[in-house]
Symmetry: C2
Subunit: 327 residues, 2 copies
Amino acid sequence: MGRWVLKTLPLFEPIREELQVVEETLHLAAHGEHERLGEILNYLLDSGGKRIRPALVILASKFHDHDAARVLPLAAAVEMLHTATLVHDDLVDGSLLRRGSPTLNVDLGAGAIILVGDYLFAWAADLAAATESVPVVDIFAKTLMTICRGEITHAFDRDGWRRTKEDYYHSTYSKTASLFAASAQSGALLSGAPDATVQALREYGCKLGMAFQIVDDILDFVGDEDVVGKPIGGDLRQGTVTLPLLLFLEEHPQTDLLRAIFEQQDDREEKTRALAHMVRSSPAIAAAREEAQRFTIESKQAIEDLSRNPYRQVMLDLADFLLERRR
Amino acid sequence: MGRWVLKTLPLFEPIREELQVVEETLHLAAHGEHERLGEILNYLLDSGGKRIRPALVILASKFHDHDAARVLPLAAAVEMLHTATLVHDDLVDGSLLRRGSPTLNVDLGAGAIILVGDYLFAWAADLAAATESVPVVDIFAKTLMTICRGEITHAFDRDGWRRTKEDYYHSTYSKTASLFAASAQSGALLSGAPDATVQALREYGCKLGMAFQIVDDILDFVGDEDVVGKPIGGDLRQGTVTLPLLLFLEEHPQTDLLRAIFEQQDDREEKTRALAHMVRSSPAIAAAREEAQRFTIESKQAIEDLSRNPYRQVMLDLADFLLERRR
């Protein structure tokens, strides 16, 4: 144990040991596999994020008696599922950079990437089954359906420039908040918490996920490329209209730049940059941040009545941290 | 109910009503979805096969008290999983024809196909969870891992022309027999059958799947293109070395055609055709058929001691039918 470096957040210190076990579980997936597959799995898992979703599972299990033997496989399962969706997303949107690491597209063929993603899905399902909880497996499967349905709606959407705020919130739930919500809900369920606690924790996860994604979408406009690890205006370039742009368009309904970008007119790249810069220096950024703040406050309110243990404090701090982060 | 035409085998008559319910369940997946997604799902499910895997689930559940409310979702789940793997396979190997229907590659982008496949996986997992049986969900997840691992090993294998018979059997198990085995095993488990019965039915499914795939591989060389619905020698063209070719090479170790084909030398298509025709008119075909027959006999032997109900007879007839089929 302890061979894999955990690159998580300092505020997760109270659950560090458990996250380390999750880390080992994730990397066990790579162990004993076909050599090249093992390398790829380790690479994917290692270039991964801050393990926020596994942390949500663990934190949410701390409000009642819990059985770590069932909680930790679930924590690994949600991260594995998340990684699988990222692998296929990168392929679908053709993005070459994510989290600052070269993605698999660069040196593997598309066929191999599809299969590696499928393998991660299968492994995630196997870990979810290790919870021995049918309701948790059910939540897990339904969340994957929600995520896929959101991606598909986006992929089939040929009028992306007509996107409304309602569409945006819907897609943000599917893409990000649904898994945050499911992580917290399942962790609570496995601990045997009463319904009200399970619902409160689910609500916390859901609102946290909404805030998280909005901040992500803001950083896509205002972030420092070197810090964020991907090019500015990338969402727009890939045809995804996010909240800052929608708020900008509310104030500037006359602009036809967006439609021009979507209709693949000449100078698409130039127009994309121009629009991204207009958004970046507009009040839409502050307005979007207010929305993120609203969700952050709601996430904290959701767990107001839970017992005041150190884990609840971590959850409150996490909400503030995710709102304030710069990458 | 009854809106979807069931194109199954006449010998499944004793379980026709149950297969019809499975058919409706499968198509329910498409109902209420994003319009274009619904069309695609219906198309995929409707251009589907003979529902052999769902039939195995149902038949295997007939040797003990069974609860149809749990058996039928599982039957739908295995077909959905099978369909999902076909969707991604078509994308991975770039094959344009499968089962005689134009595949999705033709009019959907690769990105959309990946997502549709993922969605089918998610739906399959949700149906598996509806069995409310943790052991069944576990078998389901592990089988998907086996299938993916097999595909990945194949995709990463750059020395395909060195393939041995052992490699072939291993891959045939991963690709086909594992899901046949899991279908029969899970059906038996859900019926509450004793261990010995569960194992016998799993063994039946496994051997049946081996025979099924070998016959498939023989038909790839000897079938009538119009009947089989795909071009002759297709496996070889895609770089897959199957049993008839392996048996041919045992008798003709001096031929260097195979290596030439794999090393992408000139006249690849001409050489592929030439080798396919040599195999087709060689005794290797009869030798491969003997292997398929051996597995068929073993599959029937596996269920020899089970109670002599009409469903056992269907299973025996199915084994003979799959061996003798011409497509």
